[in-house]
């Protein structure tokens, strides 16, 4: 059996008296796609914040490929192959779309330490940026200012920036939130193809159950900071705790569950 890429033990975060994440244990295998679901305030984003180094856990450990990364700074964790997106758009608004990606590419390739190259003359970075943007179907926007493109395109740009540092483990925080159904389909298809390429391990938080069932190999259900269930889509759907606490008490309403926007 292969070793997990991510091994989380008893991960806990308390804000004063409020326990946002409580004793999560989780193993994520390389190349799998794990969806994290749970109602608002369940602790999904806080969980990401601890894995990506944005917040220090109150308790517990995070291991990446067997290395303890608990409490490391975000840039260190990023350098180890972990990249994340944010629930709220997090881009460089005054730069062009292409420059947004170039920032991440320059960081990854080490050009960021070059004081006397011409950033806009770096062919390698430009071509790589264009390639990424085309892959996300926003190539034609590359010279637009990032602050003025549509909300959905900003979400796509953010994914491009996330992928630019060639991560092994990608944490996406509600990638389709606020998107039109068409954009959601586009992003879902994209993540599907990236997952199928076998280059990435994905963690995805989502409220859209259609997207979750479409993409996830396994699902982690969070509820009030706790891990309620982990398992395949079928296992989670049939888990009585989940039914009770999350998908609604009415056990007969099988079809209704699937549609429930949680």
């Amino acid at each position: 059996m292969t070793d997990p890429i991510l091994n989380i033990h008893n991960l806990t975060k308390r804000f004063g008296g409020n326990t946002a994440v409580s004793g999560i244990n989780l193993q994520v295998m390389p190349r799998e796609t794990l969806a994290i679901i749970g109602p608002n305030g369940a602790g999904k984003t806080t969980f990401y914040n601890m894995v990506s180094g944005r917040m220090q856990p109150t308790e517990g450990t995070v291991e990446l490929n067997g290395h303890d990364i608990t409490g490391l700074k975000p840039h260190k964790i990023s350098r180890m192959g972990v990249s994340r997106s944010f629930q709220i758009n997090n881009i460089f608004p005054e730069m062009t779309v292409r420059q947004n990606v170039e920032v991440a590419l320059s960081a990854f390739h080490g050009y960021s330490r070059k004081l006397f190259n011409l950033a806009s003359g770096n062919r390698k970075v430009q071509e790589e940026a264009d390639e990424l943007l085309n892959r996300l179907s926003i190539g034609e926007l590359s010279s637009q200012r990032a602050g003025i493109i549509s909300y959905g395109d900003k979400r796509l740009l953010e994914i491009a920036v996330v992928l630019a540092t060639r991560p092994k483990l990608v944490l996406l925080d509600e990638p389709t939130a606020g998107m039109t159904p068409e954009e959601t389909r586009r992003v879902t298809k994209l993540i599907r193809s990236l997952a199928d390429s076998g280059d990435y391990t994905f963690l995805i938080t989502e409220h859209d159950m259609g997207v979750v069932f479409d993409l996830a190999d396994r699902i982690l259900v969070m509820h009030r900071g706790e891990s309620l269930a982990v398992g395949t889509v079928e296992e989670v759907k049939n888990n009585p705790d989940v039914k009770k606490a999350y998908l609604g008490e009415d056990e007969d309403d099988e079809d209704g569950e699937k549609e429930a926007a949680v």
Binding site: P74, F92, V103, A107, A119
Partner: protein, 314 residues
């Protein structure tokens, strides 16, 4: 088309600047020299402020240490000016490295306060360490020797010194401009717009902020060094916190969003100061009014507002 016009305007400006000593009254040679030196000082400050997004209120320390370094080397060792200026740059960088190391971990207003506090400390040291700095009298009485590189110049002649300053400011500005346009410069701008996103791209933003601060200190030190032969004295006032405010005001006047904004701001500042103080004592009142109007109606500065409008047109 527009970039050709801009380049043309820039070349024309440089030609006019070169010709200046022959076409303006003698007095304006001094004004021109001051504008150039303060312009470089403001541009060095703007690397930290306009590009990286850190408001430093202690830049007079780097400027002033540059003035002291050149003044003392001229007084005690009679070094060629170019060598003195290189030391001024190094001293500015070194002091910025130390102060930056302690300050860049803080954000926004705390960073501003900390740089202000360190600036005040440096001022006090210059004021009180009489055996080295000669206290409030400052370092004076030095003579100007050679320029360096075997170039024979009469530095004591204001027109010659103006041209020396012009040449140095142009070279230094080109270097600074290249840094702004480099990949490193792109990262600095990214840090201003969204520091957190940059750290999640794998960069230690403190290190980049410190690097920007140190480079900025080097150029501020160089500008300060050129002040010594110009003023014929290095005194603690150069390190006073009110001197730290000047590059801030100049950058805002000219516009922080364009590389040349601070130079335009320096010209406006120095000219307005000269003209207004010649007719009234109330220079600060007028400066206050101009600044208030700028911040209320032309937040992008004179050059910034103009270029934004002009580049947007058609």
């Amino acid at each position: 088309m527009k970039s050709a016009i801009l380049l043309g305007a820039l070349v024309l400006t440089v030609i006019l600047l070169i010709a200046l000593p022959w076409v303006v009254p003698y007095f304006y040679i001094f004004i021109g020299t001051e504008i150039l030196i303060m312009g470089l000082f403001a541009a060095s400050f703007n690397l930290v402020f306009g590009y990286t997004g850190m408001l430093s209120f202690g830049h007079a320390a780097f400027f002033g240490i540059g003035t002291y370094a050149t003044a003392m080397l001229l007084l005690h060792l009679q070094w060629p000016l170019l060598a003195c200026l290189l030391v001024s740059m190094g001293m500015g960088a070194l002091l910025a490295l130390v102060i930056g190391f302690l300050s860049v971990r803080l954000n926004e207003v705390y960073f501003a306060m900390l740089t202000l506090a360190f600036g005040m400390m440096v001022f006090s040291i210059a004021h009180m360490w009489r055996s080295v700095t000669n206290g409030s009298d400052g370092i004076a009485g030095f003579t100007l020797g050679a320029f360096g590189l075997g170039i024979d110049l009469t530095l004591g002649n204001p027109a010659v010194y103006y041209h020396v300053v012009l040449a140095i400011v142009i070279v230094a500005s080109l270097v600074l401009y290249l840094i702004c346009r480099s990949s490193f410069g792109l990262i600095l701008q990214a840090i201003r717009q969204n520091a957190e996103r940059v750290s999640f791209c794998g960069l230690n933003i403190r290190l980049y902020r410190l690097a920007a601060f140190t480079i900025s200190g080097a150029f501020a030190g160089l500008a300060g060094g050129m002040m010594a032969p110009f003023l014929r004295v290095a005194s603690p006032e150069m390190m006073h916190w009110s001197t730290s405010a000047e590059p801030v005001l100049m950058s805002i006047l000219g516009g922080t969003g364009y590389f040349l904004g601070p130079y335009v701001g320096s010209a406006l500042f120095v000219l307005l100061e000269t003209w207004i103080t010649s007719v009234t004592q109330a220079w600060m009142l007028f400066l206050g009014i101009v600044l208030a109007l700028m911040v209320m109606f032309f937040r992008r500065g004179i050059l910034g507002t103009f270029l934004d409008w002009w580049l947007d047109k058609k």
